[in-house]
């Protein structure tokens, strides 16, 4: 078994930028991607804010090189996965066993929504090409074929923790010497299905979300894709450039509380974070920055905060929720945040938690509100929790 896995490349597209550089600039400048809905056709336009990628489907098709008939989700995935692949430089090495492990919760749902409008009125209606990529796995396959990966293609779907589990699975495929390199992360486009789904749960904020604020009202939906290229130590030494960081710990645990709510004491988040620390051989005080799940819902932030208090008190690391920039990108969130966290581990970045006015009274810690560079940061913890009690934490460590 390989003992360690390195992050050799990164790619991202989100409401705050179409690549890593643009996203990082927005994070530095405090520019949120949340605003009025422009691309998605929905009755909630103008009523519910969201963080859309600032490209319509035609522009995204051109950028991704995929057909306009492909799901928006696949286009987002393509843009970020290709950036990560090119950034890593692994294509220059011959004979690598390379895999693509991508997470998504909606697959080709945007097209399915168009299909069902005609289909439910008459089963012989609806354009078939709108439904053929409904399955989550098809979105991964479309992108894998386009970037030329055949060795190993997997799709993971565990709601909002999906991409964290994809990164974990990718790292393990390398540790078990099944693959040499894996592009791992996830993608999710905003669809009417998810926007309405979260709206029926009454957890969407009609204003810009305020993660970890006492007066938070809920989340804003976002979209995007984020991938890291994971490589074995052997591959890392063959590359021209040093890796960003290593993936030193991870843990997937179940909260066993409720299908949609996290336990008040944060049992699942606590288990995920402490499991990742123990795998990395770290103590809580070794963590320099936590990229919070921090959706901005009443339930998540109090549950996550409680788990942090239980685990870290009195050594609180710096922390923030970048969902205050990107919105909650669901199945893509852990992939996007893995990119931000890998950069944080490498360069000591601490991103601001925007719009924090009144820190939560229940906790003695306050998330960071300014962009900082703290070169003492050695280890970054990234949290992602989803429906069904799925709680996953990843640790990225400076080399």
């Amino acid at each position: 078994m390989n003992a360690i896995v390195f992050v050799a490349g990164a790619g991202v597209i989100s409401g705050i930028g179409n690549n890593v550089t643009e996203c990082l600039n927005s994070l530095r400048n405090g520019d949120a991607g949340i605003g009025k809905i422009k691309n998605l056709k929905t009755n909630h336009r103008g009523l519910l804010p969201a963080s859309e990628v600032k490209l319509n489907n035609s522009e995204l098709a051109a950028l991704s090189g995929l057909l306009l008939s492909a799901p928006r989700n696949a286009m987002l995935s393509m843009v970020a996965a290709r950036e990560a692949l090119e950034d890593s430089g692994i294509s220059s090495i011959r004979g690598l066993r390379t895999g693509f492990v991508s997470a998504t919760t909606v697959g080709g749902m945007d097209k399915s929504e168009d299909f069902v409008i005609d289909f439910i009125a008459d089963r012989s209606k609806g354009r078939l090409r709108d439904i053929i990529n409904h399955e989550c796995g098809n979105v991964t396959a479309l992108v894998a074929e386009k970037i030329g990966i055949k060795n190993h293609i997997s799709t993971i779907s565990t709601a909002c923790s999906s991409s964290a589990n994809a990164i974990m699975y990718g790292a393990r495929l390398i540790k078990h010497n099944i693959l040499d390199a894996v592009i791992a992360g996830g993608t999710d486009a905003i669809t009417r299905f998810t926007l309405n789904g979260f709206n029926t749960l009454m957890i969407l904020d009609e204003q810009y979300c305020k993660p970890f604020d006492e007066n938070r009202k809920g989340l804003n939906i976002g979209e995007g894709a984020g991938y890291v290229v994971l490589v074995s130590p052997r591959v890392a030494t063959l590359l021209k450039r040093d890796s960003y960081c290593s993936v030193s710990g991870y843990c997937n645990a179940n909260d066993v509380y409720h299908q949609t709510a996290t336990s008040p004491e944060g049992d699942g988040p606590f288990a995920a974070m402490s499991g990742a620390l123990s795998m990395a051989g770290l103590q809580p005080q070794d963590v320099g920055y936590i990229n919070l799940h921090g959706t901005g819902t009443l339930n998540n932030d109090s549950s996550e905060g409680m788990a942090i208090k239980r685990l870290f008190d009195p050594y609180y690391p710096k922390m923030s929720s970048t969902k205050s920039f990107t919105g909650h990108t669901l199945g893509a969130s852990a992939g996007i945040e893995a990119v931000f966290s890998a950069l944080a581990a490498q360069q000591g970045f601490v991103y601001p938690n925007l719009r924090l006015q009144t820190p939560m009274a229940a906790f003695p810690f306050i998330p960071e509100t300014e962009f900082l560079i703290d070169t003492r940061i050695k280890h970054v913890l990234s949290n992602s929790f989803g429906f069904g009690g799925n709680c996953s934490s990843l640790i990225f460590s400076k080399l």
Binding site: I120, G137, T158, G197, T200, L201, A253, G388, G389
Partner: protein, 355 residues
């Protein structure tokens, strides 16, 4: 890969596979282009308050998972891993339809919540209070195989562990209508008895749920061992397919003469089945073979059903008459290879052996 032990298995399918004392002694016949599951009485296993929100695939899966754990006498496994290509389709369809019909307002949340692909794994975890690793693969025709690979890696990472792994997919009215329009199924009603004689375009739709309790150490009563699992995607031609199979067997140190039985995924569609027949003239030549999709129909996680019959055949050292089309098969059955492809895109190999 390190081999793992199948401690127990439970399966709900279009055949009498659940809570049955016999092993497929009589074929349940269907005169249709879809085979739907024979469902047990769920209320005996799941609290009615919990069951009210569950769609068919969730009920089938939870009940087969619980039965599997009971057989293995394991109350709480270390992990739950599921594989499903379509996920909770019925709930997805319900929410989509109500969203369109109600023009986005007002609609109820339950179908949305239940439509999430990891609902099955999550519901099992909630029911048995399993706080361990929980993961769901939605990799099309390789979903169950990915779940198996993940489980086998987990077992290699941890001593004395056991893992509940399952594959499931459901037929809904909407999905059957769509897949029929896409030309997947036979246009004329066909009897599943004659599926392989039909020699025409299309197959028959199927569904099911099968769960396995896997462990990294042997226990008396284990059904069989899984030696290895491998998948490959869209081979360019039959030569590449043959090479992939050959290199899998070589990596496992298995000569084709060591394989007592081959289980193949023939589904009655001429073009689909040509792949199997080509291999049977080369790399699989003269290996005794049985098919299974006349029992369960075609669906992306049908290999979970194949694994259930494969493990059972090894354990009972017998081949049900309804599976055997007259091939002389030597016993004991010690090594079984399952080879399946889904629409010639997702190919998979699962190697089983007697413990």
């Amino acid at each position: 890969m390190m081999k793992v032990y199948i401690r127990s298995a439970a399966c709900i399918s279009p055949q009498k596979t659940f809570n049955s004392t016999s092993f497929l002694d009589k074929l349940v016949t269907y005169e249709d282009n879809k085979l739907t599951c024979i469902e047990p009485d769920y209320s005996e296993v799941i609290d009615p308050r919990v069951i009210r929100r569950m769609s068919r695939v969730i009920k089938m899966s939870v009940v087969s998972a619980v039965a599997c754990l009971k057989q293995a006498r394991v109350a709480n496994p270390d992990a739950i891993v599921t594989g499903t290509a379509y996920g909770c389709l019925e709930d997805t369809g319900t929410f989509l339809a109500s969203m369109v019909e109600q023009d986005e307002d007002p609609i109820t949340p339950t179908a949305f919540v239940q439509s999430t692909h990891n609902t099955i794994g999550a519901q099992i975890a909630l029911l048995i209070k399993c706080k361990g690793y929980n993961n769901t693969f939605v990799s099309g025709g390789a979903s169950f195989e990915n779940a198996l690979s993940d489980s086998m890696m987990l077992l290699a990472e941890k001593n004395n562990a056991n893992i509940l792994v399952g594959g499931m997919d459901e037929i809904t009215d909407m999905s059957h209508a769509v897949l029929t329009r896409l030309g997947l199924y036979k246009r004329q009603p066909v009897s599943n008895i004659n599926l392989f004689e039909a020699k025409s375009k299309g197959t028959i739709n199927g569904e099911g749920s099968a769960f396995f309790l896997l462990a990294n150490s042997a226990t008396e009563g284990d059904l069989a061992c899984i030696d290895a699992v491998s998948t490959f995607y869209k081979p360019v031609d039959i030569t590449e397919t043959t090479e992939q199979v050959t290199s899998f067997l070589a990596a496992e140190g298995v000569d084709k003469n060591d394989i007592d039985l081959l289980i193949t995924g023939n589904n009655g569609d001429e073009k689909n089945d040509a792949v199997y027949s080509a291999l049977q003239h080369s790399v699989f030549d003269s290996i005794p073979t049985v098919n299974y999709k006349n029992l369960c129909g075609e669906y992306p996680t049908s290999t979970a059903f194949a694994l259930w019959i494969g493990a059972k055949m090894i354990k009972t050292n017998s081949i049900p008459a309804i599976l055997n089309e007259g091939t002389a098969i030597a016993t004991p059955i010690k090594k079984v290879l399952i080879y399946n492809h889904y629409q010639n895109s997702y190919h998979s190999l699962i190697l089983l052996s007697a413990c």
